[in-house]
């Protein structure tokens, strides 16, 4: 396997980690509705903490290996519009994900709606980045 193969694998694996962990966190949100919670608070916190850590790790891996790929591959540059747009959206999504984590951790009941809004913002950002990565507009 070449360096490119490894970088691409690790980049894609990181995005799988992000979307996979986000999917698990949405399952957690659905199963902790105040009207009919499936999980005890401590179990939900433990599960949520694990998901949050994996989203963070995945986002870190995606950006590191993504930038490395953009530098390594002839024909792509960091200042290509679709890559620049992805980097900006990545920053916004990372901020929203961090805010979601804070909201759910500090006050999972009182700040639940805020946490859901931030998590939705994070998820939409990741989805838009996925679209940019597949379509590569302008490439």
């Amino acid at each position: 396997m070449s360096l490119y193969d490894w970088l691409l694998f690790l980049h894609v694996l990181s995005t799988f980690l992000v979307v996979g962990a986000l999917t698990a966190l949405w399952a957690l949100v659905l199963s902790t509705r105040p009207a009919a919670p499936l999980l005890a608070a401590e179990s939900a916190m433990r599960f949520g903490r694990l998901g949050g850590i994996l989203v963070g790790a995945g986002m870190g891996g995606a950006i590191v290996f993504g930038i490395w790929l953009a530098i390594d591959v002839d024909g792509y540059e960091l200042w290509d519009a679709w890559i620049l747009a992805s980097l900006v959206i990545w920053g916004l999504a990372a901020w929203a994900g961090g805010e979601a984590g804070k909201a759910f951790t500090r006050d999972p009941i009182g700040r639940r709606q805020a946490g859901i809004r931030y998590q939705a913002l994070n998820s939409v950002g990741i989805l838009v980045i996925l679209v940019l990565m597949i379509w590569k507009p302008g490439a």
Binding site: L8, A21, L50, G51
Partner: protein, 152 residues
């Protein structure tokens, strides 16, 4: 940078394939993680088992179908020549087909397990489903490697 430059017609099916695969991995991870946490925490094992079985029933099959339809559509749009049969495509088919079988087994186990949970049993079904989900996660890790690195 998810793949090299490709025909535009491939983008939508590839997007659906990748999105389905990511959602599939996510739901399987939720099932496996809840099972693992429940195994270590006896006070809320029933709640975690219920969560993992419901997640499997609601999330895994739609994600799998999206991934599989996206894969077939992508292959059709790529218009590969006759006899094109690289190892990475074979790995994809094998993991998808064996995965389908294991997912069907898991769905049956989850349905039975959820019913048994109401009468205080069903934990063994949850653990079996968690074990299968972990196995599938490992298989899909190999599939992601094969799809991206495309060996041989």
């Amino acid at each position: 940078m998810l793949a090299a430059i490709r025909p535009d017609d491939v983008n939508l099916p590839l997007f659906l394939h990748v999105l389905g695969a990511m959602l599939l991995v996510g739901t399987l991870f939720a099932v496996a993680a809840a099972t693992a946490i429940g195994w270590r925490r006896s006070s809320d094992t029933a709640g975690l088992t219920s969560f993992s079985l419901r997640t499997l029933l609601i999330g895994v099959l739609p994600s799998y179908i999206l991934m599989r339809i996206g894969a077939q559509w992508t292959e059709a749009e790529q218009d590969y020549p006759d006899g094109f049969d690289p190892a990475w495509l074979g790995v994809g088919y094998v993991t998808a087909d064996i995965g389908a079988l294991l997912i069907l087994v898991s769905i049956v186990l989850a349905a039975v397990g959820l019913r048994r949970l109401r009468s205080g049993n069903g934990l063994r079904f949850g653990r079996a489903v968690g074990g299968i989900s972990t196995l599938l996660l490992v298989a899909y890790l190999v599939a992601v490697w094969a799809m991206t690195a495309k060996p041989s």
